[in-house]
């Protein structure tokens, strides 16, 4: 097999490949998108108290450590075969990085800023939306980025539970012992993960008006400018996928 063979195969099947690719992106976007919608409020909920935070983080943490194949199979038993099962799995998988990073982001806002916010007369709600959330945005974006990259990987096993996407091509290749087809599924998936990582990374820096110009409180040694902003990215939770 040469690269020419691969290119030839891929080109001849470009319609199907495009369709798989699109399905892949859709499943990931739906799963991660739902996780964002649910995860950010859950992260905010964690601010209510230490015990709430422990409970929420424990539950999402457990979801995260279930092996991806087991998760999808368990969901399949309950939800049946199909894309919905895959999306539910991706949703559960993405919760932990998003909730945890949201919570960390909200927590790291310096106490004196919250004191200032209270002192100038912001209600709790305004303290949250005008001070904590804007300052936590880069952290939330980190969570989203980690979740997306994991989800793109997990989504390749979708065909095992009746889902679509680039995994179809991979499994077809495995079953038919056709490495051309395995490459045709695996390479675009890998590329998608890299592009998502870079793209969301850029968006993360963009969404952070303060970071572009400021020394964030936790940035190492008050380093100035863009380096300082990058240093403010929190440690990401261990990914498993």
């Amino acid at each position: 097999m040469t690269f020419a063979d691969f290119a030839d195969y891929f080109w001849r099947n470009r319609g199907l490949m495009g369709e798989y690719f699109l399905q892949h992106v859709q499943m990931v976007a739906a799963g991660v998108g739902l996780a964002l919608l649910a995860g950010v409020p859950l992260g905010i909920l964690c601010m209510r108290g230490r015990w709430t935070a422990r409970l929420v983080l424990a539950v999402t943490g457990i979801l995260q450590v279930v092996p991806s194949l087991a998760m999808l199979v368990l969901l399949m038993l309950w939800m049946g075969l199909g894309n919905a099962t895959v999306m539910a799995g991706l949703f559960l998988y993405s919760l932990n990085p998003i909730v945890r990073n949201t919570y960390v982001g909200l927590q790291q806002v310096s106490g004196s800023l919250i004191d200032a916010a209270r002192g100038v007369g912001m209600s709790r709600w305004q303290q949250l939306w005008r001070v904590r959330v804007p300052l936590a945005l880069p952290y939330m974006m980190t969570g989203l980025r980690v979740a997306a990259v994991i989800a793109i990987g997990v989504a390749t096993i979708a065909p095992l539970v009746g889902g679509d996407g680039l995994g179809r091509e991979v499994y077809a290749g495995i079953n038919g012992q056709n490495s051309l087809r395995i490459y045709s599924g695996a390479l675009p998936a890998a590329l998608l993960a890299i592009v998502a990582d870079i793209g969301l990374g850029a968006l993360q820096r963009r969404l952070d008006p303060a970071a572009a110009r400021s020394r964030r409180p936790r940035a190492g040694g008050g380093a100035s400018g863009k380096d300082g902003a990058d240093a403010a990215v929190p440690p990401v939770p261990k990914a498993q996928g």
Partner: protein, 417 residues
């Protein structure tokens, strides 16, 4: 008139810590009251009672005769200015947004808010066009805290709380900010509660000082009375120890008499600006005599120039003027000061100033700018130092070039080391 009344307030925390013990205080309208004491003495806690950031375990706080428990805390805080240490600006908001925080919370319309922001930035010498859209991190610490101060003024509150606002600043910016605040207070007459641990700062800006220790008020008095009649040894040590520390760091003698220079004429005339001492010791007309003596001791000088808040020269007092009337506690600097008979304009050749010194046997001559603001002082010492810098030494001929390059700053730096 009493603006804020704190009555029988106790504060006990859940862990049993008795932070405030039976506090009774009143803060008068239009006065700057400084709460001071060692760390952990309860000064910040006391201040935070006023905007309900701390609620008392027992006792009441009244503003304008009204118990503040009857006011919604969020509304209350919007009507009280609040300044904290330098980190208080929101890093994700521009300077304009930061200043506009309270007006926006109060839902002022956009035009009115924008006008107010520009007006306030102007007030502390930050050009609105230049600074409005910058982020806090793009400003120096001193500039940031100036923004912090005007943010507190934005909605024109009657009361302003300041919690060690300048403690994180370098000494120069701190001095500048203290003068800014004193100047603003002269115009605005707010009721200000100011927390600090720096006695020099307190003596400089306070109308009234409240000294606290272990959650209790030890003495509450005007700065002058506190210096004259410290209530007990603790007050004495607190003032004394602080003064000693300040004295150690302060500049050395500024007005020592030098040898008579006669009619010495420089070849290529430097101006008085090159030679003058730029941070001369000054006092203000409303200051008490004991305060004046403290300033003299701290700066190690025997006379002070009296200026108003715009630094216009009003007169001068010597230690003799002060000592003659020291027994009269009601007298202030304004009552004993003498008019200034000799001063020179900024840009005057040094030779004229030296002639003035010589022919009238003066110890020093004040330098004023075109708006008659007091900007510096020519002393015999400063002239001698300048000459020493400029004149070539007989034994090392290669030196003069480099020492001329150093210029007058070299002389001044020496003065302050």
């Amino acid at each position: 008139m009493t603006m804020i009344q704190i009555r029988d307030v106790n504060k006990r925390y859940d862990d049993g810590f008795h932070a405030l013990k039976n506090i009774n205080l009143e803060f008068r309208q239009g006065e700057m009251t400084v709460l001071i004491g060692p760390s952990g003495c309860g000064k910040s806690t006391t201040m935070r009672l006023v905007n309900r950031l701390v609620s008392p375990t027992s006792g009441t706080v009244e503003i304008g005769g009204r118990d503040i428990r009857s006011i919604d805390p969020v509304e209350l805080r919007r009507s009280i200015g609040y300044v904290i240490q330098s980190v208080g600006l929101f890093p994700h908001m521009t300077i304009g947004r930061n200043v506009a925080v309270v007006p926006r919370l109060k839902r002022w319309d956009a035009d009115k808010t924008a006008r107010r922001v520009d007006e306030l930035l102007d007030m502390v010498g930050l050009k609105p066009d230049l600074y409005r859209d910058r982020y806090p991190s793009e400003l120096s610490g001193g500039q940031q805290q100036r923004v912090g101060v005007v943010r507190a003024l934005a909605a024109d509150p009657d009361i302003i709380l300041m919690d060690e606002p300048f403690s994180a600043l370098d000494p120069l910016s701190r001095e500048q900010l203290q003068e800014d605040v004193a100047r603003l207070q002269q115009e605005l007459h707010k009721t200000i509660v100011f927390v600090t641990h720096d006695m020099d700062e307190a003596l400089k800006i306070a109308d009234r000082i409240v000294l606290m220790k272990d959650g209790e008020v030890v003495q509450s008095d005007t700065p002058d009375r506190m210096l004259r009649r410290p209530a007990n040894d603790f007050v004495r040590t607190f003032i004394g120890q602080k003064r000693l520390e300040a004295g150690g760091a302060a500049d050395v003698a500024e007005r020592e008499a030098g040898p008579d220079l006669g009619g010495f004429v420089m070849a290529d005339g430097p101006t008085v600006n090159d030679v003058m001492v730029t941070q001369p010791a000054v006092t203000y007309p409303g200051r008490g005599l004991a305060e004046a003596i403290t300033t003299m001791e701290r700066r190690k000088v025997d006379s002070l120039y009296v200026v108003d808040r715009q630094r216009k020269l009003l007169g001068s007092v010597s230690i003799y003027n002060v000592m003659d009337s020291y027994g009269d506690e009601d007298k202030t600097v304004a009552d004993v000061m003498m008019p200034v008979r000799y001063s020179v304009q900024s840009g005057t050749p040094l030779t004229q100033a030296v002639e003035l010194l010589a022919s009238h046997r003066l110890h020093n001559v004040a330098v004023i700018d075109e708006d008659s603001r007091f900007i510096g002082l020519i002393t015999r010492g400063s002239v001698v130092r300048h000459l020493a810098e400029k004149l070539p030494h007989g034994d090392n001929g290669e030196e003069p070039g480099s020492s001329t390059g150093l210029g007058p700053q070299g002389g001044n730096r020496e003065e302050h080391s």
